[in-house]
């Protein structure tokens, strides 16, 4: 039985897991979906209500019926020759997604994580609702494109409100790649809220924090890592100052662990990276749950055996 790893070629975390699987003697077939259709081939047959056949490249092959688990590790998407017209490429993209994605989706295997479960969970408002249902605390949140509603949410304390993007916050503009971190509002923001009407604007009450926690959940294993920040910006969004962060393993309150387990079941995820704020009075407030979390840095910083946990999960497969 083989583990199918869908990842880009330069992905050290994927390398680490592939190496761990190889050390255990677990067969691995790794590919980037950008290899399809010119360097990755599929021959699938529906026989007896089951997809059979194989997936192969110039160096490896895997029988579809031999796949025990699929690690959906952020592969690039299908790539088509420039010799096709734009319309042809669009058609080919759709067919590839429906064909390759469809066959893989039909396999009775463990997905980490299933693409459609990831798609569901990409909606943070959905995450927060489910999290609350599961017993997790979440920050007071508003989403609006109405400036008056935003002003009412903010009240007189802009510095106690943060704004954040609901999706990836990077963009290329004027030739420069830029990123928008979560930030606390200012009096200037409150004086000029026209930008609220530009789109759905997310406002959230700032949660006082002693530190943050990235909780990596892999199957039944949970690895809580405290993230300590020393600068004002990093205390608002630790991603803004990665070099200045300090890490340590932290125990997980039982109630949080139980709620996270329920969340994982509700969302159909088998691994995730939760971000929490831990308040000075030791309340854990969930910020979000990433369905394709990075992991290697936490293991490097703390020694948490995250790579082994992922290898174990994938090697075990669906049971």
């Amino acid at each position: 039985m083989t583990v199918l790893v869908l990842a880009r070629e330069f992905d050290p975390t994927a390398d680490a897991v592939v190496t761990a699987l190889a050390e255990r003697g677990v067969p691995v077939f790794r590919t980037d979906l950008a290899a399809f259709p010119t360097q990755l081939w599929l021959d699938a047959r529906l026989r007896g209500g089951r997809w059979t056949g194989r997936l192969w490249n110039a160096h490896h092959a895997v029988a579809l019926e031999e796949i025990r688990s699929i690690w959906n590790r952020g592969p690039r998407t299908y790539r088509f020759p420039d010799t096709l017209t734009a319309a042809e490429r669009e058609f080919c993209y759709r067919e590839a997604k429906l064909g390759v994605g469809g066959v893989l989706a039909a396999l009775d295997v463990l997905w980490a994580n299933h693409p459609n479960r990831c798609a569901d969970a990409i909606f943070k408002p959905y995450q927060w609702k489910i999290a609350t249902d599961c017993g997790l605390a979440v920050a007071d949140t508003g989403i609006t494109n109405d400036a008056d509603s935003a002003r009412r949410f903010v009240g007189e304390l802009p510095h106690e409100t943060i704004t954040k993007a609901l999706g990836p916050s990077g963009m290329t503009e004027y030739g420069q790649v830029q990123v928008a971190y979560t930030r606390r509002l200012t009096s200037e923001d409150l004086a000029s809220l026209e930008g609220v009407s530009a789109t759905a604007t997310t406002l959230q009450r700032f949660v006082p924090k002693a530190f943050e926690v990235r909780l990596t959940v892999i199957g039944q294993d949970m690895f809580g890592v405290a993230i300590h920040a020393d600068t004002e910006d990093a205390r608002t969004d630790w991603r803004s100052d990665p070099a200045g962060l300090r890490y340590e393993r932290v125990p997980l309150p039982e109630a949080v662990a139980d709620a996270v387990s329920v969340y994982m079941k509700r969302t159909g995820l088998v691994y995730a990276g939760f971000d929490f704020v831990v308040t000075p009075d030791d309340r854990w407030v969930m910020l979000e749950a990433n369905t394709g979390p990075q992991m290697g840095w936490l293991q490097a910083a703390t020694g948490a055996p995250i790579t082994d946990a992922m290898a174990t999960l994938l090697a075990k497969g669906a049971t």
């Binding site: 993209y93 990077g170 420069q176 604007t201």
Partner: protein, 116 residues
Amino acid sequence: MSVVLDPAGDDAMVGPLTGPLSSIEIPTGRPGDPAGIDVGTRTPHPVARPLALRDLRPAPERDVPEHVYDPARQVATDRQGRPLVPDLKKDWTTIEGTHTDGDGGDNEMWEWEEVK
């Protein structure tokens, strides 16, 4: 090779926001602008800029170590064929200029990776 880091990149999938396998399609570009890249030809309107974008900062950059992908071992190696992982210190990496939407263009989507 220098790459741009997206510290928000846990879920910042390359290509459609929902990835190449999901049956749900959320493109990353605006309608009619599949690449999603603004080359700066529009007149900026800072007052009406979305609130979350008022404090955009240049994304940090890091060097990606020289490497080749070993398709037989299925891991990245240095030029001498040694797997990279044991030699890498903790760091933040990764951007991919990548095709995303079937139109043949390269989207400049990016995300981060932390390398142990």
